[in-house]
């Protein structure tokens, strides 16, 4: 009997987690032959290879996928600041009757950023550069923190003091960029220019 290959996918890992705070990730397990993953046990290992969490994949595929069965697993961020390389792993599966392997073992690495408690509130007001109208749904990124603007074009992020690079971007708009230092609560207005690429009609004529 052919042994089915297995893949592991990890997602919904927060971009930054306060040190020592619990958080959740999703781990998907996919059989190349798309047979049900069964009750496969997922183990999370830290940078030393020590088990720090586990879960069992469910029997419903992740939305939009054909056969990626997943588990949601609670973990806790390290107590010290830093970026940590962790791993999600599943073991081989064996046929109980024959003892033969039916599915391979697999693993996937992911990174966890443990960060100190952000001290400052960064408020971003995204407006259209020409009309000054608010831009809802704009992406606000101050690495590693990110948010989307609300219906009033406003997003609020808590960020640590220090140097920052702010990007605000949106559909059909060029990214707004601002570099600087942040040492207190601050509001930044991001004026977004439309993507001015020539239309097909202009190019085609």
């Amino acid at each position: 009997m052919e042994v089915h290959a297995t893949r592991v996918v990890v997602w919904d890992v927060p971009a930054a987690i306060e040190c020592g705070v619990p958080f959740r990730v999703k781990v998907g397990v996919k059989c190349a032959a798309e047979c049900g993953a069964g009750p496969r046990h997922v183990e999370i290992r830290d940078e030393h290879g020590d088990a720090i969490g586990s879960g069992v994949v469910g029997d419903v595929p992740s939305p939009g996928t054909s056969a990626l069965y997943f588990a949601e697993i609670e973990l806790r961020a390290p107590k010290a600041e830093g970026v940590y390389a962790w791993e999600a792993a599943v073991a081989d599966v064996f046929d109980v009757a024959t003892g033969n392997a039916t599915h391979t073992a697999a693993s996937a690495r992911f990174r966890v950023r443990a960060a100190r408690v952000p001290e400052c509130l960064l408020k971003v007001v995204a407006v259209d550069a020409r009309s000054r109208a608010p831009v809802p749904g704009a992406k606000v990124v101050v690495h590693p923190y990110h948010a989307l603007t609300n219906a009033d074009g406003i997003a609020e992020l808590r960020v640590p003091k220090g140097a920052y690079r702010l990007f605000v971007s949106g559909r059909d708009r060029f990214p707004f960029r601002s570099d600087g230092e942040i040492d207190a609560d601050v509001t930044i207005q991001a004026e977004l220019d439309e993507d001015f690429g020539p239309s097909d009609a202009e190019l085609w004529s």
Binding site: V9, A67, K139, G170, P175, D195, W204, S205
Partner: protein, 664 residues
């Protein structure tokens, strides 16, 4: 001897299987007409109507199932000038005689105050730069351009006399001389029925009744043109092409569709008159039904299914069968990487495999024609470029279900715009990144000036008398565009001699990106047609691409590593490979499902071609006119002007002079 096939031809075209070529040669002709036109696009239709107006019988052969060529797909922005009737109309603030144009002029009288001399100077002076800071005009053939400038005003009137309705002048098109406003789009009014004489089109035919449906009348959905006309006006190439086609059929021009022009018949291999053409049957079958496709209108069509026929031209042959942008072997003389067959020309599904295939160039060379302006293909950053429409091979334009050729493309594609490139990584055929994605599609600004609306020109203070229209700081700004297209065309790992292929290219993204950008990855925007893939894991995605894409020649063996590395860059906030952190936010590719959309490089214009004189007679390698042979549009070289304005005037001149030839 006339046969039954001649019965539908009327007086214009006769089948005379026993006739000779008029020179005593023992040629066998299947059809004959005063003027034979190869190609039914903007130059060919114009030439055909013009020759017909002057009393000639005219037969147009076209390789496709319908008329219009790429004009039908176009935005219909016809840039002429030189004091043309439209400029004069807008200077006076008048509307059109039908009362459709009631919006105020868009351009000031100063912007419209034009002359033939100014137009000629604009497009021949060595010192004039275009909107990209390029200086292409010095290479234009002066005699050709002078004739073009002189014929712009009468061509505008000619088009208007043949049911073509223009909105207000609004800027100028690339290569059309940018010191004055010279271009306008063509329109029809939304109405209860499609009636070219009345100037109306239904919402269904215009493609505005349903955002996901178009029609055979207009393969690309028509645009709202209220700013240039009035409420209820819609514009694009259908308003232009269908109007001209209607007029041509009404006036008795005959059309033989599915007929690919292949060869010229000359009295001697390199001497004497051109006396006719050979053309091959090139049927196109409906992609779903398998039946022979049909043109929108059939009056004037000549049905002919023999494999090869010969058509005698009593006065002249006019070559208007387009350029070479669809022929990778010809393209490769300008940029070897564009021999990559994965990268098509614009309008691939509409035109089919024989569109823009260099047929005029090839046939012309066989009878000794000279070439002109071949280097001008490289004179514009728009000739070939990377499209922001992903997930379809026919990425230059959109097209929705409803047009019979939609099935050839299978999907409309998703136009993500330049800004959308921040949502994914772009990889080559082995799955490696090759450029800063957010800079990948950037190129010089658009071409309209002084109409505005396109940065960096928007809001500038234009001086009408300053025809050297680009200040030095603008030039610097315009030269900052990146060379993502060159990176995209680089030799890919995994390609081998003799081809060293460049493509294909893939946008790789996750479900978070789809939701952030609100892209609708569903039919008709994407489909299971080999240009879009979805998978639960990156490894599966790579395998699906390799299996399902017609031009994927090697495995994307690096894709999983590339995504893992990219996610590491995102976590670190730095992209050491391409410094993307300086241009836009970076996003992980982590949440399933994962998606791959094709990224296409498109070759649009053909600027090089046959050399012609001011009468549009084809000239040979010794500088001598080839009697009885004319050419226009993209079949012609020596004039780096993008768009319809070139082709229409070429057709007008060629039709005028072909009709004046003595009958043989």
């Amino acid at each position: 001897m006339k046969t039954g096939a001649a019965a539908g031809l009327g007086a214009a075209v006769l089948l005379d299987a026993g006739c000779t070529d008029g020179q005593g040669a023992a040629s066998q002709w299947d059809y004959e007409a005063d003027v034979v036109v190869a190609g039914g696009g903007c130059a060919g239709l114009t030439a055909a109507i013009r020759a017909r107006d002057l009393g000639c019988s005219v037969l147009v052969v076209d390789q496709n199932f319908d008329l219009g060529g790429r004009m039908l797909h176009s935005g219909s922005f016809v840039s002429l000038g030189g004091g043309d009737p439209l400029q004069l109309r807008d200077i006076k603030g008048h509307g059109d005689k039908e009362g459709f144009v009631t919006s105020p002029p868009v351009e000031s009288p100063e912007e419209l105050d034009d002359s033939v001399d100014l137009l000629f100077t604009d497009i021949t002076d060595w010192s004039i730069v275009n909107h990209r800071g390029e200086t292409p005009y010095r290479y234009n053939e002066r005699e050709l351009v002078r004739a073009w400038a002189e014929n712009c005003p009468p061509t505008r009137q000619f088009l208007m006399d043949n049911y073509v309705r223009f909105g207000r002048i609004n800027g100028t098109h690339e290569g059309g001389g940018m010191s004055r406003a010279r271009g306008a789009v063509c329109f029809l009014m939304l109405g209860d029925k499609t009636d070219i004489k009345a100037g109306t089109v239904t919402k269904e035919d215009a493609g505005v009744a349903d955002p996901e449906r178009t029609s055979q009348f207009a393969p690309v959905q028509m645009n709202i043109a209220s700013r240039f006309v009035q409420q209820g006006a819609v514009s694009n190439g259908a308003a232009l092409a269908r109007s001209l086609e209607f007029s041509a059929r009404e006036k008795g021009v005959q059309f033989m569709l599915f007929r690919k022009f292949t060869d010229l018949v000359r009295e001697q291999p390199f001497a004497g008159r051109i006396v006719g053409i050979e053309a091959k049957y090139s049927p196109r079958m409906h992609p779903e039904t398998g039946e022979l496709m049909r043109s929108l209108w059939q009056n004037g069509n000549v049905d002919e299914t023999r494999d090869t026929i010969r058509v005698r031209a009593r006065k002249a042959v006019i070559l208007a069968s387009g350029g070479h942008s669809g022929n990778p072997q010809v393209r490769s003389m300008f940029y070897p990487a564009m021999r990559e067959p994965a990268f098509p020309t614009s309008g691939l599904s509409l035109q089919g495999p024989n569109g823009q295939d260099a047929s005029a160039l090839i046939a012309g060379l066989k009878v000794g024609a000279n070439l002109a302006g071949m280097q001008q293909n490289l004179g514009s950053a728009a000739t070939f470029h990377l499209s922001t429409r992903l997930g379809t091979r026919d990425a230059y334009t959109d097209m929705m279900p409803g047009h019979p050729t939609f099935g050839f493309r299978g999907s409309a594609g998703v136009n993500v715009g330049t800004a959308g490139f921040e949502e994914f990584i772009a990889v080559n055929q082995v799955g490696k990144r090759f450029f800063n994605e957010v800079r990948l599609p950037r190129r010089g600004g658009g071409g309209q000036y002084p109409g505005g609306g396109v940065a960096p020109h928007a809001g500038i203070e234009h001086k009408p008398t300053d025809w050297r229209n680009c200040r030095s700081e603008w030039i610097k700004q315009m030269y900052t565009y990146d060379h993502g297209c060159d990176a995209a065309l680089a030799i890919n790992e995994g390609s081998t001699a003799p081809h060293y292929y460049s493509g294909p290219l893939w946008a790789i993204l996750d479900q978070d990106a789809v939701e952030r950008a609100k892209w609708e990855l569903r039919f008709p925007y994407v489909a299971d047609n080999g240009y879009y893939f979805k998978a639960d894991t990156i490894e599966e995605l790579a395998a699906k691409i390799e299996k399902g894409h017609e031009f994927q020649r090697v495995p994307l063996k690096h894709l999983a590593d590339t995504v893992a590395k990219w996610n590491g860059y995102v976590d670190a906030g730095k992209d050491p490979d391409f410094e993307r952190e300086n241009d836009a936010p970076m996003h992980r590719i982590a949440r399933p499902p994962f998606h791959a959309l094709s990224i296409m490089v498109i070759w649009h214009d053909s600027y090089g071609g046959l050399r012609v004189n001011g009468k549009h007679q084809v000239v040979d390698m010794r500088g001598e006119v080839i009697p009885g042979l004319y050419a226009g549009g993209e079949a012609v070289g020596g004039f780096q002007k993008h768009g319809l304005g070139k082709g229409h005037v070429h057709g007008f001149i060629a039709g005028t002079n072909a009709a004046a030839e003595p009958a043989t």
